[in-house]
């Protein structure tokens, strides 16, 4: 949506993922709960609203939807069991958080946010187009299940990967990324998947825009990030067996809700910590003329000890989706690799002179 001419900002991509999904330390897990999730409760308490229909009778979800928000994926630990903000608390949270996340106010020498002292603050505020408002639900986290608003406990495999990822992120922030080859870099930096395009879609640094198009038999989920068009058949066909970066999506209607079921991921999804074993269910419900409630449930028994669900209210936008060329402008990848080779060379020369 932002029509600044973005080249790929791989490092931004990495950093924002960290913000949204702080790995590890998921303390105080509530016992597993199978309670149903908020959107239906919210929908029940709201005035009934009947969505318009497409000519072939589907609920009409079409349009460009904006999913920017400053609400974090996980509830900040200090908020404990508090699931919702009051209006006043929301305003206060926005003010504090917008200040805290403003990259222009962070001195790299001092560190700040999650940047370590003497590390790298890779982009200034100009490059960001993240949300600055809490989600319309006034929830304190996008995650609604588990009830504590935090990711569930890792499996042993998940924990191992989380530790490796945390160490790699630390090295990035300190300015010496693991970059023996491009294969050491996250999929998002390679433009293989879109940072926040998903599936599932999780609000991120910029390009938090998705357009839904509907024709008879298909729904198209068109993300601005990395020009990703998921063309989802609604004809009841089973999943195929081809594994893809964005998985294999099929959809159906449950009342006014579009349900998209995705399996057959090739590796991890765009969600840090997930695996190819992810079974993703996304639900899209238009709750009023200007709101599309997006709910997703991640079931990845390889990495997490139980499924988890997040809700992201999206807002109707009048702006179009623009072309986002990621790979075509990925100078960051050459820069990261060249920097790592220069560091190798400097280390080798220091070693030689030291041994004399």
């Amino acid at each position: 949506m932002s029509h600044r001419f973005f080249v790929t900002t791989g490092v931004v991509a990495l950093v924002i993922v960290v913000t949204l999904v702080a790995p590890g330390n998921v303390a105080g897990q509530a016992a597993s709960s199978t309670s149903k999730v908020a959107p239906r409760q919210a929908a029940a308490s709201a005035k009934p609203w009947t969505p318009p229909r497409t000519p072939d009778g589907q609920p009409d979800l079409q349009g460009v939807w904006d999913y920017r928000t400053i609400t974090p994926l996980e509830r900040p630990k200090e908020l404990g069991t508090k699931a919702f903000f009051t209006e006043e608390e929301a305003a206060k949270y926005e003010k504090t958080e917008n200040q805290r996340q403003n990259r222009d106010l962070i001195d790299p020498e001092q560190g700040g946010l999650f940047y370590p002292k003497g590390g790298v603050v890779p982009y200034n505020e100009f490059w960001y187009d993240r949300g600055n408002k809490v989600a319309g639900t006034k929830r304190t986290s996008l995650i609604v299940d588990p009830p504590d608003g935090r990711l569930p406990a890792w499996t042993p495999e998940g924990q191992k990967e989380a530790d490796l990822r945390a160490a790699a992120e630390r090295n990035d922030q300190l300015g010496h990324p693991a970059a023996d080859s491009w294969e050491d870099r996250p999929l998002q930096e390679r433009c293989l998947v879109g940072l926040n395009a998903g599936p599932p879609m999780v609000p991120g640094a910029y390009n938090n825009d998705v357009q839904l198009l509907q024709i008879s038999g298909y729904v198209v989920i068109l993300n601005e990030m990395v020009h990703s068009a998921r063309i989802v058949p609604l004809d009841g066909r089973p999943h195929g067996s081809v594994r893809q970066w964005r998985g294999d999506s099929v959809g159906h209607w449950e009342g006014n809700t579009l349900v998209v079921d995705t399996t057959n991921f090739r590796r991890e999804t765009s969600l840090p910590g997930s695996s190819a074993n992810t079974h993703l269910i996304e639900r899209f419900t238009r709750t009023d003329a200007n709101t599309l409630l997006y709910e997703f449930t991640v079931d990845d028994p390889t990495m997490w000890t139980r499924p988890w669900t997040a809700v992201v209210p999206m807002t109707k936008s009048d702006d179009p989706i623009y072309e986002y060329a990621c790979h075509e402008g990925n100078y960051a990848m050459s820069g990261i690799l060249a920097g790592a080779r220069a560091a190798d060379k400097a280390a080798a020369e220091a070693g030689k002179s030291g041994s004399k």
Binding site: H3, W182, H227, Q244, E323
Partner: protein
């Protein structure tokens, strides 16, 4: 007109064609029952709810234009080890008159592009292919047609573009896939494409354009499962006059036909970044 008739002959029965001509207009072709087609196919173009020709579906060109949009003989491919399997098929060109009116300097550049194809062609780097090349690459593409927006999703590199119908929106910047504004002229979807960068090519033979490229595409159903695709290319920095390409596009009829990922970034990374890979210590 003559090209049009050739296409029409291949698509319709001779009888229908004659009847159409007698009716005094090409539009009449669609209204005349064709005796030789099966029950499932009728001469009437499928319609969307708003009464427009229904172009929804998965389509693909069936030609060798991505190798060279002009006439070309078969020749050996660039990799000796792949022999006959990956050599270059012959093809009749898709350029009207088989002549591309390059300005002198541009003609020299085309020759240079051709000689350095393997290092210079943006296709090899998995860059979005531009228009019209995306249409006739050897990969399918899907048309998703709504009244206001028509999405073209291409399998190659997952490239996409949106056609804004009857829109006055302007592109804020140059793009790889252009900025597309469409309208209907009778049975034909006409798409005006501008705001290109100068980074894409027309084929592997090095045919190219500048950022002044202006493309007008015309998509016309010629049968339930084929479209006539006509493209006018205009670029005063490169060509002395506008010129045209034309070809049929065919519908994928497989049950559950589906656009799959051809996420080619990973096939181009070694080529692009290989020299920056850490070398194993000796």
């Amino acid at each position: 007109m003559q090209n049009w008739l050739r296409v029409a002959i291949s698509a319709a029965s001779k009888g229908a064609l004659i009847a159409g001509l007698m009716a005094g207009g090409i539009a009449a072709l669609w209204l005349v029952p064709m005796p030789n087609v099966s029950h499932a196919q009728t001469s009437k173009t499928a319609r969307t709810a708003d009464g427009k020709p229904n172009l929804n579906g998965i389509w693909e060109a069936l030609n060798t234009a991505n190798w060279d949009i002009q006439d070309h003989a078969a020749r050996m491919g660039p990799v000796v080890a792949l022999g006959a399997a990956f050599s270059i098929p012959a093809g009749r060109g898709v350029v009207e008159g088989n002549e591309i009116p390059y300005l002198p300097e541009a003609a020299a550049k085309k020759k240079e592009n051709s000689e350095h194809w393997l290092t210079a062609d943006p296709e090899i780097k998995c860059y979005m292919p531009g228009v019209p090349r995306a249409t006739y690459m050897p990969y399918p593409f899907q048309i998703v047609q709504t009244p206001q927006h028509i999405l073209m999703a291409y399998e190659f590199a997952g490239a996409t573009r949106t056609i804004y119908m009857n829109s006055k929106l302007k592109s804020p910047n140059d793009t790889w896939m252009g900025w597309s504004v469409g309208h209907w002229e009778g049975e034909t979807l006409v798409v005006d494409v501008t705001s290109f960068n100068d980074q894409t090519w027309f084929d592997r033979a090095g045919n190219f354009h500048s950022d002044a490229l202006h493309v007008v595409e015309r998509y016309t159903p010629i049968s339930p499962d084929a479209l006539d695709y006509e493209v006018t290319i205009e670029d005063p920095k490169i060509f002395s006059r506008p010129w045209k390409m034309r070809m049929p596009l065919y519908r994928h009829l497989e049950k559950d036909a589906q656009l799959l990922e051809y996420q080619c970034v990973e096939f181009a990374e070694e080529l692009l970044y290989g020299p920056l890979r850490k070398q194993k210590s000796k």
